[in-house]
């Protein structure tokens, strides 16, 4: 044990700080997005998945363009060819090149996924934030509506909608979005309610910041994380649902294809031409795996407290 008086006051020298630097924040100012990105970069698996996803997206954009074959081009002399240097993934029942079809299909599936997620986001965020920001009676009514909607089984409504509306990508997107936004709305509302009561918002208000500024500067940036994470899970689930609908025969029209349509066609001939099922299945699984790991990574990065 050291004695207290062993330490003399002269050992301490008062630091000299300029008067105007006392308030300075040394750490570089980071937005929620930048902060999250820095943390995400440390997660190797997530970065790897992001990379694979980018490759898949690039392939789906450019592979159909640069391929020698068009996704709808039939050639009855080469039906059911196994993978070869000429047709990397082989050909289907109509002699169509599977490589071209898979990337075209992936493109459609991704478009459906992103569009559905975007619509979800748009409707959900608007609904959720309006409900949370206005509050009071409006909030109560809007919440009661959600309570009712949450009990509706999605798939049933999606299937019915698919049958009622004219077939096509837009229909699928609309059907998925109509049922999908409720979850997003609930999340956004909860997040905003939580933020509204926090000290920094109170502080901003005390300082006389306008409502508009509070929403712009504080609420939106802090909600982005929740929104991005949720969107990351909406995209694959939309792709999944589309594949499921195509599998049960309620999907796109020939010669257009999505991964679901290709899987369905492949399943029909699984016995003799398994590659027709395996290739599209591998692509869809890859997309799903990457989105799921990346989604986890993003959640960890944006909201470390939510890590689960």
């Amino acid at each position: 044990m050291m004695k207290k008086d062993n330490i003399s006051k002269d050992l301490f020298i008062k630091a000299k700080v300029k008067e105007d630097e006392k308030d300075k924040i040394v750490r570089p100012k980071l937005t929620a997005l930048q902060d999250g990105w820095i943390r995400l970069k440390k997660n190797k698996a997530a970065i790897c998945c992001l990379f694979i996803l980018i490759i898949i997206i690039l392939l789906s954009c450019f592979a159909p363009v640069f391929s020698k074959y068009k996704y709808y081009e039939t050639d009855y002399l080469i039906t059911f060819n196994s993978p070869s240097p000429d047709h990397w993934f082989g050909t289907d029942q109509f002699g169509r090149d599977l490589w071209a079809r898979i990337w075209y299909g992936a493109r459609i599936s991704l478009i459906i996924g992103f569009a559905a997620a975007f619509l979800d986001l748009f409707v959900g965020v608007t609904y959720g934030s309006v409900s949370a920001l206005i509050g009071g009676k409006t909030d109560t009514v809007m919440q009661r509506i959600i309570e009712v909607l949450i009990g509706i089984p999605h798939l049933i409504i999606v299937i019915l909608l698919m049958m009622v509306l004219p077939a096509g990508i837009i229909t699928i997107v609309v059907a998925l979005a109509i049922t999908g936004w409720v979850n997003m709305a609930r999340l956004v509302r909860a997040q905003i309610l939580k933020l509204k009561n926090q000290e920094f918002v109170l502080a901003a208000r005390v300082l006389g910041t306008s409502n508009k500024e509070i929403i712009k500067k504080h609420l939106i940036p802090n909600t982005v994380g929740v929104i991005v994470i949720n969107a990351m899970f909406t995209i694959p689930s939309a792709i999944f649902t589309e594949a499921f609908l195509s599998f049960i025969g309620i999907g796109l029209q020939e010669p257009a294809a999505s991964l679901g349509v290709l899987i369905n066609n492949g399943y029909q001939v699984l016995h003799n031409y398994p590659y027709l099922l395996i290739f599209p299945a591998v692509v869809i699984i890859l997309i799903m795996v990457c989105f799921s790991i990346l989604g986890d990574g993003l959640r960890d990065a944006f909201d470390p407290r939510m890590r689960k």
Binding site: T74, T79, Q93, Q253, E254, Q268, H271, N272, Y273
Partner: protein
């Protein structure tokens, strides 16, 4: 901690209740015996009520559990069944059927001529919800009037002369009438039993009595039914297989798996599986009297030009379709009437009329160019199809042929069968179709079953109205001389599929199947009742 104990208890309760409900179904014993034949059907057995049944699956069961005056043999020729003989009057209008003496329902009641009168009248009335009333009403005196309730049952041309004699009076001579009696709509029903069951008739196995080689032991719409030999059947000694299990397997891939795993003895192959099994000893194929064709809407502005329609027909290489895409024994659609269908009694209809619809890319291009010029613009066409897998495949093929040979992009619009029909029937206001892929399966072995269809000028038949065509068919109906009658029908087909190009035949539906080598004489017919278990036996 007590709360988590509660959670354990709850979870275990859940587990046990589930296990308990498992063990209930566990008692379902497997009743496949050594001498049982296992087959499958690809759709649910919607109903077994004779006057409500309209699909092949129901017909399959009905045909084996019930019987009519005649039954098709292994060569698809009608042989006396409940009837021992029949007589036709000189003018060909009165048929007298004589029933066998020793025929009984499965509950021991005698089968009499009255059972036929009751069943036929029911089929001719509005009570019949299967849409098959026309198959009697078009032929039998008073049928249509009875349907619209203008006359009483006594005035209709079906009579029980005595217990064993049944007399039918026809509107016009119908050379194929005896062949019609093999259809399930013509099977007898016991009035006393049917009325005693009331609304329950046909809903379960014990709410029916049977007249055919088999009785139904149990019946479930969605999973199938089990048949057992009917010991009251007059020919029961010649029925070889004791038990038949009919299962519902909707998925083609699953059915093939089940066959390969030995669970079923016969499986229909999809086209895509044919190449792999073509050389197998178990491989067989045949074809149905069923023509898939493109119906053009002749009143649609874009397709009102006959050259356009002809160009479209010439642009399709049907041989590729049949050999490469289908490859299942389907026949090239060279005319509306399928191969093998009766012509003048000596030759088949197809042999007499030759190939009407052929592939000719040059001619197609030329006709298309002329048609476009006459029309004044290049029409954008859509082809309406139902969402069944086979039909979608055909549509994709046809689409690619139009692209390759006429350089036009035709859209495919696939709808559910009901939705497609609604549009084709012109019931959706403001919506008409350009052309549609549809099919017709023969009800009986005569070209009339096809050619009669285009006489009514409905939207479904492309709004086709032609006095020339209609008079040819009408004359053929009146004609008693077989030779002249055939001539008229040959002429009608040429007008339909070539001169006026109302419908472009694509192919005659074939079926390729695998069958275990230990089974023989499991007969499949190309029209009417689909399959006969009666003659089947194990080697």
């Amino acid at each position: 901690m007590k709360k988590s104990a509660l959670s354990f208890i709850l979870i275990f309760m859940l587990v046990f209740s589930l296990v308990a409900c498992n063990s209930n179904t566990n008692t379902n014993t497997d009743n496949t015996k050594q001498d049982a034949l296992n087959v499958y059907v690809s759709t649910e057995i919607n109903t077994l009520i004779q006057w409500a049944s309209s699909n092949d699956t129901s017909f399959t069961i009905l045909n084996n559990a019930f019987e009519g005056l005649y039954r098709l043999d292994t060569n698809s020729q009608p042989q006396p069944a409940l009837a021992k003989d029949y007589k036709v009057s000189e003018d060909g209008l009165t048929y007298t059927f004589y029933l066998k003496d020793n025929i009984k329902w499965s509950n021991g009641t005698e089968i009499t001529a009255n059972d036929f009168v009751y069943a036929w009248l029911k089929q001719m009335s509005k009570e019949a919800t299967n849409g098959y009333s026309f198959i009697m009403n078009d032929y039998i005196v008073g049928g249509n009037e009875y349907f619209s309730e203008d006359i009483s049952a006594e005035e209709v041309g079906v009579k029980a002369i005595d217990e064993k004699t049944f007399e039918v009076t026809l509107i016009q001579p119908t050379p194929y009438f005896q062949r019609l009696t093999v259809l399930p709509m013509f099977f007898p029903l016991n009035e006393e039993f049917v009325t005693s069951q009331g609304d329950n008739y046909g809903l379960s196995a014990d709410a029916m009595i049977y007249s055919g080689p088999y009785v139904i032991k149990n019946y479930d719409i969605a999973s199938g039914c089990n048949l057992a030999k009917n010991d009251k059947y007059w020919d029961t000694d010649n029925v070889a297989i004791n038990d038949i299990n009919v299962r519902v397997i909707k998925d083609c891939g699953a059915a093939l798996n089940a066959y390969n795993a030995g669970q079923i003895s016969k499986v229909t192959l999809q086209s895509t599986d044919v190449p792999a099994y073509k050389d197998s000893e178990e491989f067989h194929s045949g074809s149905n009297f069923r023509t898939d064709y493109i119906q053009f809407n002749t009143t649609n502005e874009k397709l009102s030009n006959v050259k356009i329609r002809q160009a479209l027909s010439y642009a399709i290489d049907r041989n590729v379709l049949v050999d490469v895409i289908l490859a299942d024994g389907s026949g090239t659609g060279v005319g509306m009437i399928p191969y093998g269908m009766n012509g003048d009694g000596k030759k088949t209809f197809r042999e007499l009329n030759g190939d009407i619809n052929t592939f000719d890319a040059e001619k197609a291009k030329q006709l298309w160019a002329e048609g476009v010029e006459e029309l004044g613009y290049t029409p954008e066409l859509t082809i309406l199809v139902s969402d069944e897998n086979v039909v979608k495949t055909i549509a994709t093929f046809v689409q690619s042929q139009f692209k390759a040979n006429l350089d036009i992009d035709v859209k495919i619009d696939s709808k559910t069968l009901k939705a497609r029909n609604e549009i084709m029937d012109g019931k959706v206001s403001g919506v008409t179709y350009d052309m549609a892929i549809t099919a017709w399966g023969a009800d009986y072995d005569d070209a009339m079953t096809y050619l009669d269809l285009w006489t009514n000028g409905t939207p479904y038949r492309g709004n086709y109205v032609s006095d020339e065509y209609n008079s040819l068919v009408a004359q053929a109906k009146q004609e008693t001389d077989n030779q002249t009658r055939t001539e008229l029908l040959l002429q009608a087909e040429k007008i339909l599929c070539s001169e006026d190009m109302v419908a472009a035949p694509l192919y005659y539906r074939g079926f390729a199947y695998l069958q275990k080598p230990n089974i023989e004489n499991l007969t499949v017919h190309s029209f009417g009742p689909p399959i006969e278990f009666k003659y089947a036996n194990f080697k």
